[in-house]
Symmetry: none
Subunit: 236 residues, 2 copies
DNA sequence: CGCCTTTGTTACGATGATGTGACAGTTTTA
DNA sequence: TAAAACTGTCACATCATCGTAACAAAGGCG
């Protein structure tokens, strides 16, 4: 399956969570849940979601407080947040969006509108995610037709190698540990050996350099892997 | 390719209209114009455009009001609408999405971005509006007579296979998951096994390659099916 | 240079996804 | 109303892909 954007839904009303999950998954997102503020902070750290839907009224920690704390952490500082508020709770702070949220939606909302908001926010803040086409040097990956090409040559990748490349290409140059890659590409719920990542990196390399091209993947000893930004300039 | 999609541009600033028309036509669209809200409603009814670009600030009727009214009419209920808003009208953007716009663009915008948005919205929402004739490589499907032919040979398809091909051909190259196909072809309310899609894909293939022609359908392991764009160029 | 850690690579059994024929039930056609 | 067409599901064969262990190679360090 494609590398889906992950959405964290923080909401205590179970029926609403179910509804959101159904529609979000149908629109191509991966959904993770949290019931209250504390859980939200934990899950946000574990999953590093691409977007957070945050209910304003939560048990334990208020939505605003969660929002504030998320904004203080390095890994979620730039994660888009959409606030859910009930009619009548629209204080000026929310209207001004100065709580750190990027948008807000008033309950009850139409699902069409919610999905449009999500697309809009993601597009504004995470262009790489909503792009149908991602390129890195002479490597291009088309997420619609699910094809990978390297300088006019079609490259065949297995599902895992495809997701792996997709993830790497979303953060060019950034080094990912094996654990991070397992979380992002395999999913945080599956248990596989960290060394398995090596094997798939190997398979990905093999497919990408089949024509004697330069290896686009950089190994960072005792740290992990990344796309090699050198390649962009040195490529030939 | 099919008939050109029609785009209705609702905008009172003449220079912007000219610019949009030029670029849209270059990208293969047919362009019709309206200067104000009233005219927009009239033209929308006459032309039944495939997409509407709607300025938020208009003489006569505000963009939001136009949007609301368009949404109330049967013939434009499902027409995608992209709102144009000026910087600083950000909060109105939210109301715009409430009203039923599918996307919005903040002025000033880059033309590249605008064209990309248009493609994205059309790709997401257009299946409803179909041309009478669709072609893909040497395959042609006539929606009026409900006939399918492959290079001068008439191909007989059952109802489900016909709808399946019809859906695939509307987004050539795009990979659909089994679930997406069930939603689109069977309807979102029926419950059938995902594997049923495989069987019908098989039947569709069998009918299409009865004369030993190339298989136009691509299987993407663990993802779904798509029309194989390679076929267009490789076909003989 | 030896020793240890880390990474690359291969082989292989297990798992999972897909293609296809058969079949029973249902709908449409003649 | 009988025949034909169509539908959804299953069973089974086949093939791709997966995860892991094992070993080779490379790097780091004294």
């Amino acid at each position: 399956m494609q590398n889906k954007p992950t959405v964290l839904v923080v909401e205590d009303e179970a029926s609403l969570v179910t509804l959101l999950r159904y529609n979000l998954e149908r629109d191509g997102y991966r959904v993770v849940e949290a019931r209250d503020g504390e859980e939200a902070l934990i899950v946000a750290a574990e999953e590093t979601p691409d977007l957070i839907l945050l209910d304003w009224a939560l048990p334990n920690l208020s939505g605003i407080e969660v929002c504030r704390r998320l904004r203080m952490r390095a890994e979620s500082r730039n994660t888009p947040i959409i606030m859910l508020t009930a009619r009548g709770e629209e204080s000026d702070r929310i209207r001004g969006l100065d709580t750190g949220a990027d948008d807000y939606v008033v309950k009850p909302f139409s699902m069409t509108e919610m999905l449009a908001r999500i697309r809009a926010v993601l597009r504004r803040l995470r262009p790489a995610l909503s792009e149908d086409l991602a390129e890195f040097g002479d490597i291009a990956i088309d997420r619609v037709s699910r094809r990978v090409r390297r300088s006019d040559r079609e490259v065949h990748l297995g599902p895992t190698e495809y997701r792996l490349l997709d993830h790497l290409i979303q953060h060019p140059g950034r080094v990912f540990s094996r654990e991070q890659l397992l979380d992002a590409v395999w999913g945080s719920d599956v248990y596989v050996e960290a060394r398995t990542v090596d094997v798939h990196i190997g398979r990905l390399r093999k497919a990408l350099i089949a024509n004697g091209e330069r290896d686009p993947i950089r190994t960072v000893r005792s740290a992990g892997y990344s796309l090699d930004e050198q390649m962009k300039v040195t490529a030939g």
